[in-house]
Symmetry: C2
Subunit: 265 residues, 2 copies
Amino acid sequence: MPINELRKDYILDRWVVIAPQRRRRPSDFTENLEERKEKAICPFCPGNEYLTPPASLVYLVKDGELKKDDDKNGLRHKNWVVRCIPNLYPAFMPPNSDNALNPQFNHIYVSREALGYHEVLIESPNHDEHPSTARITQLIYVINALRDRFSFLITRDYVKYVSIFRNYGASAGASLSHAHAQIIAMPIVPKILWEENAVSKKYYEENGRCVFCDIISVEIKSKRFIWNNDGFVIFAPWASINPFEFWIFPKRHQSSILELTEDEV
Amino acid sequence: MPINELRKDYILDRWVVIAPQRRRRPSDFTENLEERKEKAICPFCPGNEYLTPPASLVYLVKDGELKKDDDKNGLRHKNWVVRCIPNLYPAFMPPNSDNALNPQFNHIYVSREALGYHEVLIESPNHDEHPSTARITQLIYVINALRDRFSFLITRDYVKYVSIFRNYGASAGASLSHAHAQIIAMPIVPKILWEENAVSKKYYEENGRCVFCDIISVEIKSKRFIWNNDGFVIFAPWASINPFEFWIFPKRHQSSILELTEDEV
């Protein structure tokens, strides 16, 4: 039986057990099949735009040219290639005059209003055009639309952090199967980022080098290496949290997707 | 629409969004039904003891008296009321002469052997006797057996922390549906406990009071209060991570289940 390992994350004080045999555990549960209810109306499919809030951004292609707009005056744009809408069930919301939560700073109860934005980026008019099978042109629309929303949201004065993520499948928490990503703009920076920041600064002071550059230089030659082009390196991290986890690192120093060049997109 | 809140944990720098409307999200996935494969043989059911490794502890009741033993010399005890066995697919294992992992302390790769124990506590001979429906006498056996294993494991010199947990249902990660808990003895103390420890020490220095006592004194009167007897208080925490999360706090200062009195069990 192979030896299990405890692996520490590159920079965080976070340990992971690598226990290869555990995947062979027996199971007496039946397989969960994720079947889409065929009869359900998908609110993200073309023709159903009125089932969702007005779009904050739509990409339209007319005569081979890309146009950007939003939904206003009761109108819903049709024939979009990418569409971004407010999440109907948001975790974060912009302030409005009807609501005002008194911040609580009791020594035990600390709370504040969850100010921010929670948007859904519908990645394609085609229900099943998920990234792994999507056309390259469509992926470029998606990345550019994410950048457009990112650059808008990050300039709001109560937004400190913008997170882009994607739940695929019911077991990952997705409630609709149409290809979509989520964008959350929040008023706090997650603690893990402060920690990453502090540790990478300390690393630079002690070694005179960027910790991420050092990780790239090692992983590009390791057995965890996956792929590599002029701009990016892809590898499986040393201390994965999830099965099949991989990281995409830019080779240039970049702190957000706003710094991507057109070529890199 | 109610206002969402960001809530900070009592003592940790960890924030949670409370967004009540999100439970109303629509879904086009069919319900996942967790059906046990009726034909599968359960290795935890009485009669199948030879399908598992020898028990490290069995509770036997003979003529109304409790006897404790383990499996040895190829024997497997029958007629047990509680049975504890090594996990066949352990995350942590005791050292053995065949294995030796050279600790790596490269500035990027840090790793060490996952020394420790990973055991399964079979809570009842009855397949479905989960805690919510179990007989009280059976629950007392379970708690005492957990204490017995805890007190043995914590004295191993490479064990720094013992974790008792329970996955219920396939979606929570359980691979077998027979009522069971897991015990993991590991060579590191999770970072979150260091943090809790540091913050509660600081709280004591600043306020002259125990932070957990202060939490109890507030939550026992709050709308999150659930239940209360001479020994314990049960409440839903201010900043829950999971739906239906609740905490059971002892009223006396206790740092582990070893400090429980017989009455409290």
